[in-house]
């Protein structure tokens, strides 16, 4: 959490080697919601899925320690991993959802490394499932789900049929700390391993990253005495 983000010397991305990775905060909230639904006996089984290199199994184990029943690790590494984006992940999730006959997919609203906010929406589109994104409240009512969504104008309540895709927003819940007994139990839970090819997904990216730069250093501000001075200065530097 206290690691400084550094851009690679070739400006192709940020340095990830040796940086400790942990579960995306919004995904923690998604896992918590799924586990809560299971504790209320509204869903039968929670499967934790992650796409990436070997290290992601640690994150899946954390999800298992929070209460998920089993895990699936879709192995993506090397150049495929560097190029992997929401579209590829959505295809993987869509294929898995069909294979597993899932009734709900719950994800974090966005990942805090790329801030794309696309995977949930794309997954729903690929499956032609309804979506309840930016959820701050989820209530299952028979075959339907009532979702309160945080939108710019306030809160929007929708009712969608299952199977559906939900994305978790900040205020949906407060994720639990894994208890020590659950960490012990997580050891025995299974994590299945597969590759995108096993699901018939091609990982070719339609997006090419041209260049990554650090944001410009923030310059010191200038204090002015009067509103007239402010307007004059804004005019002079072309802002207005």
């Amino acid at each position: 959490e206290n690691t400084k983000i550094r851009v690679k010397p070739d400006h192709s991305g940020v340095v990830t080697d040796g940086v400790k990775h942990s579960m995306n905060p919004f995904c923690e909230i998604a896992v918590e919601e799924a586990v809560k639904l299971k504790e209320k006996k509204l869903i039968k089984e929670v499967v934790a899925v992650s796409c990436g290199p070997t290290q992601v199994t640690e994150t899946i184990r954390t999800a298992l320690a929070m209460g998920c029943d089993r895990g699936i690790h879709v192995e993506v590494s090397g150049k495929d991993y560097e190029a992997m984006g929401p579209l590829q992940i959505s295809k993987i999730f869509a294929a898995l959802a069909k294979k597993e006959e899932a009734s709900l997919i719950i994800l974090g609203k966005q990942a805090i490394d790329d801030d794309c906010n696309q995977t949930g929406q794309m997954t729903a589109a690929l499956l032609d499932w309804p979506q309840g994104t930016f959820a701050s409240e989820v209530t299952i009512d028979g075959e339907k789900v009532k979702v309160v969504r945080e939108i710019d104008g306030g809160l929007e309540t929708i009712k969608i049929s299952m199977p559906a895709v939900l994305t978790a927003d900040l205020r949906l819940n407060t994720p639990r700390y894994a208890t020590l007994p659950n960490i012990m139990k997580a050891k025995k839970k299974k994590i299945a391993n597969m590759k995108p090819a096993d699901l018939g997904v091609d990982m070719v990216s339609r997006v090419e990253v041209l260049r990554v730069d650090e944001p410009p250093t923030r310059l010191a501000g200038v204090k002015v005495e009067t509103v007239d001075d402010l307007v004059a200065k804004l005019r002079a530097n072309g802002t207005i």
Binding site: E1, S22, E58, R61, T62, A65, Y177, A178, T179, L180, P181, I183, M184, A186, K187
Partner: protein
């Protein structure tokens, strides 16, 4: 023949054995479950304890809510089997938990350690099944904590001189005397307490008892105003014709001293872990400051004087940590660990006071004021060289074990 005998003696002296070697290699990388457990405790300490530790210290507040949350996580009874309500993990996991919690708040780490090692520890080892269910299970959730009453106003290190008396009257034990320096006293719901049942047998005449708190005949002295770990309560326990059922004796009559010593052996690993957490927090504070504070045109971390301090602090902490892990792993492997536990407690407590001291030095004037946590780490560290066996006692224990190994 002499050479082979000498070889075996040397092997024994070096403490080598097959499974010992296997577990030593795992010191390089902790098992996955332990890493996860450590991370959970670290997250909890960073988010829930760090932000309030200063307030708890300033206002002498017992972290009741945090203790309940830690109980729910299983941290208040790490080694207790699941059937009794604990987390069912090993002593290495317990050591990691105490270190991470102490890093967030030294006082909270102390409460965790006392409950696990000093209160639950002896009952788990020497109690009957009925005693375990009655006196351990309610103390696993964080709703109740226990304490350990051995020291008296007249004897700390000299534990064999216990002057608290227990006499049998019908179906009851009647206890009289005073215990001193009892951590958790004002917040505890029970105590493991030591009293003399047969004065003529000297230290073999001491027995251990379980007393609920509050209880008629047991009163608490004033809360001590301490230099550090101020969120814990420390006070005298005063027993005046305190009556308890016969079934409240812990272990066989006369085994109290043995129970106390064995309990303290394990407790030392807990305190070593607490000291490690405080030392690490002091090091974190100093290293962070070294990046930010500039003097003579550069961050002070560029100056060798500061670099040498940070290096010395890091070596002190890491070496004490490996000693602590080794002691914990020997205990988990059911091998003798008295010497290693004493070494760990000695090394870790001296590392904590060293790091606390140097951390203030790195921060300069800023280290002396309460705006930064350095002064609290300095104050919290000091007790670790005193309780659960002073550094002087640890040296005696280590020397005793060492000389036994080299005996002709």
């Amino acid at each position: 023949m002499n050479n082979i005998a000498a070889l075996f003696k040397a092997r024994k002296a070096l403490g080598l054995c097959v499974s010992g070697c296997r577990s030593l290699s795992s010191l390089a990388e902790l098992p996955e479950m332990h890493q996860m457990m450590r991370q959970t405790c670290r997250d909890y300490a960073d988010r829930e304890l760090g932000p309030i530790a200063g307030k708890l210290d300033k206002e002498h507040l017992f972290p009741g809510q945090q203790v309940r949350e830690l109980g729910a996580m299983g941290v208040m009874a790490v080694e207790v089997p699941e059937e009794l309500g604990g987390a069912g993990m090993d002593y290495l996991a317990y050591s990691l938990a105490v270190e991470e919690i102490s890093r967030g708040c030294g006082s909270t780490g102390c409460v965790v350690s006392v409950n696990n090692s000093l209160y639950i520890g002896p009952i788990l080892k020497f109690g009957t099944q009925k005693q375990k269910e009655q006196w351990i299970t309610p103390f696993t959730t964080g709703e109740k904590v226990g304490c350990f009453a051995l020291s008296e106003p007249g004897n700390g290190s000299d534990a064999g001189a216990a002057s608290t008396l227990a006499r049998q009257e019908g179906e009851e034990w009647v206890l009289n005397g005073t215990k001193a320096w009892i951590t958790n006293s004002w917040d505890a719901s029970a105590t493991v307490i030591f009293a003399t049942t047969d004065k003529s047998l000297k230290h073999k005449g001491i027995s251990a008892f379980l007393v609920p708190m509050p209880h008629p005949g047991l009163s608490l002295g004033k809360k001590e105003d301490k230099l550090g770990i101020r969120a814990t309560s420390t006070a005298n326990l005063i027993l005046e014709d305190c009556r308890i059922p016969l079934g409240n004796m812990l272990g066989p009559r006369g085994s109290g001293f043995k129970i106390a010593m064995q309990t303290l052996d394990s407790g030392r690993i807990g305190i070593a872990s607490q000291a490690l957490g405080i030392a690490q927090a002091a090091l974190d504070c100093a290293a962070d400051y070294a990046h930010k504070r500039t003097a003579f045109g550069n961050p002070i971390g560029k100056l060798q004087a500061i670099q040498f301090k940070l290096a010395d602090m890091a070596v002190a902490v890491e070496s004490a940590r490996l000693l602590t892990w080794k002691a914990a792993m020997l205990k988990d492997a059911k091998k003798p660990f008295t010497k290693e536990a004493a070494m760990a407690k000695l090394a870790a407590s001296e590392a904590a006071t060293f790091c606390g001291h140097q951390s203030i030095q790195v921060l300069g004037g800023m280290g002396y004021v309460t705006d930064m946590p350095a002064e609290r780490h300095y104050r919290d560290a000091r007790i670790t060289e005193i309780y659960e066996g002073t550094s002087e006692i640890q040296r005696l224990v280590i020397a005793g074990q060492l000389l036994k190994e080299y005996a002709p």
